[in-house]
Symmetry: C2
Subunit: 434 residues, 2 copies
Amino acid sequence: MNAIELIKKKRENQKLSVDEIRFLINNYAKGKIPDYQFSALLMAIFLNGMSVNETAALTEAMLNSGIIINLDSIAGAKVDKHSTGGVGDKTSLILAPIVAAAGVNVPMISGRGLGHTGGTLDKLDAIPGFRTDVNLTQYKNLIKKCGMVLASQTKNIVPADKLMYALRDVTATVESIPLITGSIMSKKLAEGIDGLVLDIKTGSGAFMKELKDAKALAKSLINTAKTFDKNVIGIITDMNQPLGNYIGNWLEVVESVEALQGKDIPDLMTVTNKLAGAMIYLGGKASSIDEGVEVSKEMIKNGKAYDKFLEVVKLQKGDISVLKDLSKYPKSKFSEKIVASRSGYLKEVDNYEVGMSALELGAGRLTKDDIIEPKAGIIFNPKIGDKIKKGEIIATLFTDNKKGIDSAKNRIEKALKYSSEVVAKPKLIKAILR
Amino acid sequence: MNAIELIKKKRENQKLSVDEIRFLINNYAKGKIPDYQFSALLMAIFLNGMSVNETAALTEAMLNSGIIINLDSIAGAKVDKHSTGGVGDKTSLILAPIVAAAGVNVPMISGRGLGHTGGTLDKLDAIPGFRTDVNLTQYKNLIKKCGMVLASQTKNIVPADKLMYALRDVTATVESIPLITGSIMSKKLAEGIDGLVLDIKTGSGAFMKELKDAKALAKSLINTAKTFDKNVIGIITDMNQPLGNYIGNWLEVVESVEALQGKDIPDLMTVTNKLAGAMIYLGGKASSIDEGVEVSKEMIKNGKAYDKFLEVVKLQKGDISVLKDLSKYPKSKFSEKIVASRSGYLKEVDNYEVGMSALELGAGRLTKDDIIEPKAGIIFNPKIGDKIKKGEIIATLFTDNKKGIDSAKNRIEKALKYSSEVVAKPKLIKAILR
């Protein structure tokens, strides 16, 4: 077996065997297959695809490149959620305490934001003192103690993914369903979960712009999870506009706290309750997703989810005083309001542009080494279908970097399209797949 | 413009512009685009192909990575031939002196053999003293003096091709029509030619096993040559069995000398005269290919081609005494006869296996660093369609390496298939394209 033969096989659109895929991933992770061969393989996979079995073998080989956390010593189900990423997507911060409060363990390992999408770790970092860099013992203890943990990925979890992602990033091989599947599922399987809810976003602010692509990715992820005997539900949700109204790391913590305190934010809570409901159902604490949604709402209403959030923040060394009095947080040096240029029904939002505006204000990263300003972001008021009056405040920008304002403003103004006729609100939950 | 964007473009099967292709080749040749990006691009080109315009731009960018020889100071047409390679293909050694004797300049830069196919340079090296490593001044002087030169490629001709070929070789991106076209045509255009005859081999011993692939490659090469205003003819010839009867470097020199002295070797001379005829026609010394074929036959008959061969060998420091008395050449330590295992009509020869047998005897290289034994090789007697008697001598193996004999013998025995019924002889000239 050698790399050239196997590249040739994939190039000819033949199926690679489990052993062949193991050979490729193991040797690449060990530095025995050079980048220039692996990138040719990645492009062949990108263009010719992989079968369900090949994708499962890829995931397994990636998973086995590092440690796999065993949570068998912890009683009860362990269920996590993974989102493909969006703009204003703070559901993790709200649903993890909801689900833990409902009695289902949530071992959550999250990532950082890149490009127009945010990352849960960056949002948690906005809470003064909060530590996501827990070690394996702390990780297990946190789950035992409060039923949840909000952690960053350690170096010894799926090291092959870090190498592969860095190479994909510079060889135009990122947007490949089998490669995305291997990357997501290997990391989730390493967490020690029994069940997984997938939030596959679709629309202008999502990675998968088209519903059919989102469905294809969801199916690939679900098929792979099933191969590993995991309970899995895929929920395809709308990302044609920001989720909720706050975009930016601290701003999203604020909106999450308000939501946990019972504030009704319709789109955000519809999606959050559906995802939490599916997790509660997979964790055996409800007999259906709908019943799980009712449990989720109850956890907000009775205050248990909010209490759970304060508990985990405290256990992970975060400052809860600032959560209890949100006005104590430092303010951005500059703020700027954007008003509607005309009256009409909001018809379309180029949500990628909204995400990129937040990035330009300091809320995101263009490259991995960029530094995030936690206060920076956007309060974005309207929703598609809303009737807007000329001069009405559409958005407020917050930043310490004055230079970013003009560009962000310009992007947002261009991102909005109005109609004189009534516009229907987009459906938030597009499909549930299992 | 950056490499990732351009890889993405080719990945999406979009056309790259002339400037984009120049950017990629120039920067790769300068070491500014790393191998791991370029190999992803190569795989995208392999799988998505390139248009005629893209292939021409690729060829031009490769050509401009090095020097382009200008032969304008030499009177008369300059015509070369390129073969895609085969087993026992010694046509260059015979046709170059034929065409030069007919008054058309032949500036011939050849390559070495790799794998089952031989290379003209290795055959010339079998002639004691022969120097193919001529410099530019010697190159021009030889053409001026005797109307031909048999040279190896200098380092400053198409350096991009050396880098690209080395990378293609280890990333399973060799067998791509646009990449092969760029590699062949950039080198041929750098020679300073006006016209080119292409010998595209097809069959079990050829690079292109299928006629349709050979035709596609021929069309790509012809279209590209035309873009550069070169006169070009593509001749598709049979490679389902060795051409002539001798395989191996010195053995092929022997057969070439015998052919130049007028020995009738039907298949070898049919192909050689057709290629030479096309070159003579492109060089303006005949009004059609057929008339060129008659001129070619005449140059053998009147002894001018043989004299021209002796002249060029002498000018390039080769020992002509051994050509005049072929028996003076050293003999192989071992020889072994293979006899027919049954009676019948020879139906099929796996010519790749015949080529590999010669390699195992010492006549070829598996990797670039292998050392060739010029005496080693095979005299291969039968032709497809011949009636063979059990026990008849099929082939004689020559080698200094006793170990290779068993394997070579085994390969050849397996490579032959017989039939009880009459078998038609394959057509030697399959198509002429222009």
